[in-house]
Structures are given as structure tokens and as C-alpha cells.
Symmetry: C2
Subunit: 160 residues, 2 copies
Amino acid sequence: MSTPVLKPEMLCQVGLIVRDVEATARKYAAAFGFAVPPIIQTPGFDNARTTLGGEPSEATARLAFFQTGQLVVELIEPDEKPSVWREFLEKNGEGVHHIAFRVGDTKATEALLAEQGIKTLQQGLFVDGSGLYTYVDSVPQLGVMIELLENFPKDRVGSA
Amino acid sequence: MSTPVLKPEMLCQVGLIVRDVEATARKYAAAFGFAVPPIIQTPGFDNARTTLGGEPSEATARLAFFQTGQLVVELIEPDEKPSVWREFLEKNGEGVHHIAFRVGDTKATEALLAEQGIKTLQQGLFVDGSGLYTYVDSVPQLGVMIELLENFPKDRVGSA
């Protein structure tokens, strides 16, 4: 109870796993009545520094984002390599994969979550290197995967 | 493209299916650092006017809500009777069941969604009768179930 680990007002994203990000983005655009967003290809380990279970990973995904006020809806089409995205698709098919909270300090948040038995699963840099994402193993306790999103201070971007 | 069917800025809720709403609410409260919310028992057909596939349904659920800025996180523990909630639990286990959009006119929105082949699955009144919820069959197209939430004008509450 003491220290809030996640600030509820920092809930900022809902991420969905899809099989075909272009097709699904078109359907969302039709349902929501706006333009189809660009499709973003995430880079491999050299740029994204992706880790899975603490080990370097070459897993990538194709992404599309819809801004909805406080919330971004993210569509994620995983590649075939092991990742939290791929595992979800194989286990559950398409669906909501995570809800994301903005955090100020990923390491401190990871430490607080670890005290509750919630460990980091996958981590990597934003496509443009401007921040760090962290998926944690919250499904057993909270019924949904939580992602932590940390924006680096602007003077750190590019040096991460 | 023409008429936006759903306004993205009206995304207002993420709903999760859980097996034990009290236990999960306690875990969320711990993770988020605030008080455990009250557990709300939804009423049967006489009060909720629940329909499933257009037919009256006695399905109920126990609910808990966490307010997070623009977004409410809703925990839903379904009873054993057929419902979109129960079906999700049996098919997927715990997880994110829907994302909800506030709408001004449910019937008009249902008609626009029907043009895209997205039909209404389950509908009912809010626990306090102050509005109408509608789950639509958007999973095949959008990868997630969408819920429409309509607040009745205050002078209609109680007469619905």
C-alpha cells in the first residue's frame, strides 16, 4: 500500500496483438473514421537492444498507433522469433496483450514490482531510441500483462 | 471513412475478466497503491434488462472499478450463466475482455457498426440504471471486443 508502484493516471496505452497489422489498421481506421496510420517496423537487437528473459533477442514487430486522448491504441504484429508478443499470439490468438503505464524510473519500478513477485520479461528501446519499454510478468497476479514506458530526458536520446 | 462510428477520444474503459474479483481487486490496489474498491453485484434481468443475442438473460457479474484519469479499469467476475463474459473466461481464461467507448446514441452506433458486419452481442442497463452498455461482435475484425457506453440524460434515469 505504502508507495504506489504504478500511478493509475499514467495508464497510457492498450496494446493488441494482431496477425496482420496493415489489414487491422485499415479496419480500425474505418471503424474510428480516420486515416490509416503509418506502419512502423521495429529494428533488431543492434538498435532496439531487445532482451527476453535477460538475453539479447532479435525479435521484431510491425506496429501501428492510434492516439485516443489519454490513451494510445497500439497494434502489434510479431515476427516468428520468440517474444512476449509471439507467445501471446500462439497462446491466445489476436487480442489485448498489455496495458501500459508511463513511469519515471524503470529500474526503481522493476524493483518494487519484483518485491511483489512480478519480474521483467522483455525490454527494449523505443523505435526512435527516445525511451525504454519493459514488459513484466503480471498476468498471474493481475490477469493482464503490464508494460512500463519510460521517456528518456531529451539530452539522453541518441546516447542510450 | 465518412462518418466516424466511434470517437477515439471517447475510449473510456478497459475491461478485464477475472476469476475472483475480490482477490484481483486487492492485487490491483497493492500494485497501484490505493484502497480496494467496493465490489458491485449486477442485478438479474428484471433490473438490468440484460439481453444476449437479443434474448433476455439472467447472467450477472461482480464488478470492481479503478479510475485512472481518462480511463476506467473494470474487473469482471462472471457468474456461471451464458454471457459474453463467461464465454471469454471459458475460452481465454483471465485477460482483457473489451475496450469501451462512450457514445451519444447507441442505436445509431449499432446501425453504423452493423453496416460493417459488427453485430450486437449483449446489452443491458448500468447497475444504477443510469445508462446502457452494449457489447458488439468486433473480435473478428478488430481483434478485441468493443463496448458502447451510453449515459442517459439525467431526467431519463429511473424511467428506463
